[in-house]
């Protein structure tokens, strides 16, 4: 995870990442395994995962081996993602948007559409009218319009010969489900049946498939073929309901484990678990509400750890690493002017990315407009970038704020 293989532990460190397009919600995991999965962000190396997981190291290895075999996880190449500034922002995305796992910008499918696919997949277990996004009593015209609208998004012909990677079969599956919903709801006969089944299945969660098929069996007794058809349909519905209940149950288990971690102040673990709970039950507002608290705490903890590591690297003279770690910490502490300033100075001194240096220095100045030191740094960075007019302006501001600032005076002279 060190830039261009430099630094103390550069080299053969193995780093797992989520395979593009994998949906963690499809796996059957214990909360501890789920937590481990949530830690895999393409940056955290295996050695660290063994330490932070709630599982014994051997178990961590076993899980990873299994996920690699199942195609959920793959070993990533060495720290390429730290090569450029935008990639360094990557750790933030999975933290703030649980469903963003599996997004692959290299595919010939806009990232927003990938996001849309992931969101829509979570809907597929729901009642048919919700799949189409219409009211349960929607009229045929509305149903058709919804179907046409969704077809325009999910019909595979829209993406003819494009490289969709794992999204191709997923988009096709979504379209098939949308079509099924449309067909069942646009025919008055099947629609009535769907509504009756829904009414029978909906209240007080899962009376169980046995009860449901007994009820339909009684109704359809005179005609064996019709009974079988009904049973098939009931079977499909029961299976949906079971899958849905199963997801909710898993979500609850993750949430509870997350909350207990929260109480023990294990913020990172708590955030990971709650995130998984939301992935399994995206409609649950309580989970989402809890997540923002947990996430804030987790960010604080993550930032603390990063800063500690960064200070250590700085003292050892490993400036490149220190810069990277400060920069990452900045994502969790965007309000920290001193951190911004520190990052800016490091970027400037390293000379590798003056634009980054300028952005950080500006951020510091915005957060603390009256700090002459920050102004001076910004001025110096402008100067290094050859933007002398801007440099002059900032250095003059610094001098105005602190007339005793000899360094700024000196810099102005040499402009």
């Amino acid at each position: 995870m060190r830039l261009e293989g430099e630094g103390p532990s550069g080299g053969a460190e193995r780093v797992p990442r989520l395979a593009p397009g994998c949906d963690p919600a499809r796996l059957s995991l214990t909360p501890a395994e789920g937590y481990l999965l949530s830690r895999i962000d393409g940056a955290t190396p295996l050695s660290l995962l063994r330490q932070i997981a709630a599982l014994p190291p051997a178990e961590v290895d076993r899980c990873l081996e299994r996920w690699v075999k199942e195609g959920v996880v793959e070993w990533s190449g060495s720290g390429a993602r730290f090569g450029a500034a935008p990639a360094a922002r990557a750790p933030v995305a999975p933290a703030s948007r649980p469903a963003a796992q599996g997004i692959d910008p290299s595919l010939d499918l806009p990232v927003e559409m990938q996001q849309r696919v992931i969101e829509f997949e979570a809907l597929l277990d729901r009642p048919y009218h919700q799949i189409l996004g219409v009211a349960p009593d929607a009229d045929p015209k509305t149903i058709k319009q919804a179907y046409f609208g969704l077809s325009k998004q999910f019909h595979p012909d829209r993406y003819f010969r494009r490289n969709l990677g794992p999204y191709a079969p997923r988009i096709e599956s979504i379209f098939k489900k949308v079509l099924e919903a449309y067909e069942l709801l646009s025919d008055p006969a099947t629609r009535a049946e769907v509504q009756r089944d829904l009414a029978a299945a909906a209240p007080e969660a899962a009376p169980g498939p046995a009860a449901a098929s007994a009820a339909s069996g009684a109704k359809a007794a005179p005609d064996p073929a019709a009974a079988r058809r009904l049973r098939a349909r009931m079977h499909g519905l029961a299976r949906h309901r079971r899958a849905f209940e199963e997801r909710k149950r898993k979500a609850k288990a993750f949430f509870e484990s997350g909350m207990s971690a929260f109480k023990k102040e294990r913020w990172l673990e708590a955030a990971g678990s709650v995130r998984l709970a939301i992935a399994f039950d995206p409609q649950n507002e309580a989970y989402k509400a809890a997540f923002s608290d947990v996430q804030r705490k987790a960010h604080e903890e993550r930032a603390r750890a990063l800063l500690k590591e960064a200070d250590g690297a700085y003292q050892l003279g490993d400036y490149r690493d220190a810069f990277r770690l400060y920069d990452e910490a900045l994502h969790y502490r965007p309000f920290d002017a001193e951190l911004s300033h520190k990052t800016a100075r490091l970027a400037w001194k390293l000379g590798s990315d003056l634009r980054k240096a300028k952005d950080c220095a500006m951020a510091a100045c915005e957060l603390a407009p009256d700090n002459p030191g920050y102004r001076r740094t910004l001025g110096q960075i402008y100067k290094a970038a050859g933007l002398f007019a801007n440099a002059k302006r900032e250095l003059q501001t610094a001098l105005r704020l602190d007339p005793s600032d000899a360094e700024s005076r000196q810099e102005l002279k040499t402009l």
């Binding site: 077809s151 019909h155 096709e172 079509l179």
Partner: protein
Amino acid sequence: MSRVIGIDLGTTNSCVAIIENAQPSVIPNAGGYKTTPSMFAVTQDGKRLVGHLAKRQAITNARNTVYASKRLIGRRFEDPEVQKCIELCPYSIVRGQNDDPRLEVSGKAFTCTEIASIILREMKRVAEEYLGEPVQEAVITVPAYFNDPQRQCTKDAGRIAGLEVLRIINEPTAAALAYGFGKKADEKVAVYDLGGGTFDISVLEMSQGVIEVLATAGNTFLGGEDFDRRVVNWLIERFQQTDGIDLRGDAMALQRLKDAAEKAKCDLSQREAVEINLPFIASDANGPRHLSIELTREILEGLVHDIVNETLKTVERCMSDAGLGAKDVDQVILVGGQTRMPLVQQAVADYFGKRPHKGVNPDEVVAVGASIQGEALTAEDQNLLLLDVTPLSLGIATFGGHFAKLIERNTTVPVRKAHIFTTTRDNQTAVKIRVLQGESEIAAENDLLGEFVLTGIRRAPKGEPEIEVSFDIDANGIVSVSARDLETGKEQSITVNATGTLDEGEIQQIIEEHELYEVQAKA
């Protein structure tokens, strides 16, 4: 990037179109005609002719000139329709090694796929000459009622002609695409397509740039050529009455009669009566005989009105499939040259209670629609989406030789449908899944696409095990079928490959032969 052409591979005429500057345009051939006869001939000295050149010499070289071979493509030799053609066509039709009809031209037996490829190659050439660049990709149209082998043969023909066939789409659907191109309105459209060899009727709904096929019906063996044939038979009978000579056995006379009948039929769309003059049509002991008969529009209408009525029955069936009444249709589009006939236009107008749409050219609209679909698939900025359908029902054979349909014809693709089946005997541990395609209730009357066996079912009283059979059709029309024992989770599946009448080896062989011929022709 090479551009996608749309080809209407017609029974009598073919047409090619392309999208230029966001507008579809029909490409004229070297002679300036926008349609090219679907004809192929080999001359006495072994030269191969296609299109207008083949048509021009058809009379003097009737036995070695092939037309309307689309009627035979993808069929078996025993097919009654093939037998009917054998009786009527001047060229000879022989049984091929795959039990397919082959057309003997100048001593060589051509498969129908090969003939189609020759015509497609010609259309490709027309487009390339016009564009000044190579063309590699095409969308080709077929009648809505073409079955899988017929579609696959057409696709194979494209491949032999050096084209990658992006899609095979239905002719009436293509016509609707052409009509709907650039329109914002929500409309229900009926496409009445009476071409040279086939009749199709489709009802489509368009809204928000999406086109959905509501229903399709048709008859693969009813078209403009039946009108011609009625006229030819009438002429033969009249001539036999007046001159006592039966012209049926004379290939050259038949070809002349056919040409004259077609021309008279077309002329009668504008005029009330025409004179058919065929000097020296035959000769006997008394010397040469000339045919000179007057045909009026009234006589013509009397000869064919039952064919027109037949089409209306099909229309009726289609409308009821779509769940619509005649007045629910906002627009009627006429496709195919035969719809120029006043009798046909009147019949359609009477049925729907409105005049048909005049804005489209019935000979060109299908090719235009094909090019629009090519563009819709490949363009960056797509604003038209066709929800295409599967042409025939799919299902499995069940106890007692019945056919259980899982996917009804005209179902939008891609689609997945599943159904629970059970055992029919006590302690049955295996079931055979036979995948069928067709419309008959009786399993044996449908086409067998493939079969497989699911074993390891728990011994149980009959009717107890639950076996879920699911059918999947992907966006390219590939069908896969799986059976799963819900109790044990055991699963078996197959992917059904569409096959034409030629196997891969034969296709490759023909491609090589044609390459050889191309080189010869250039030399």
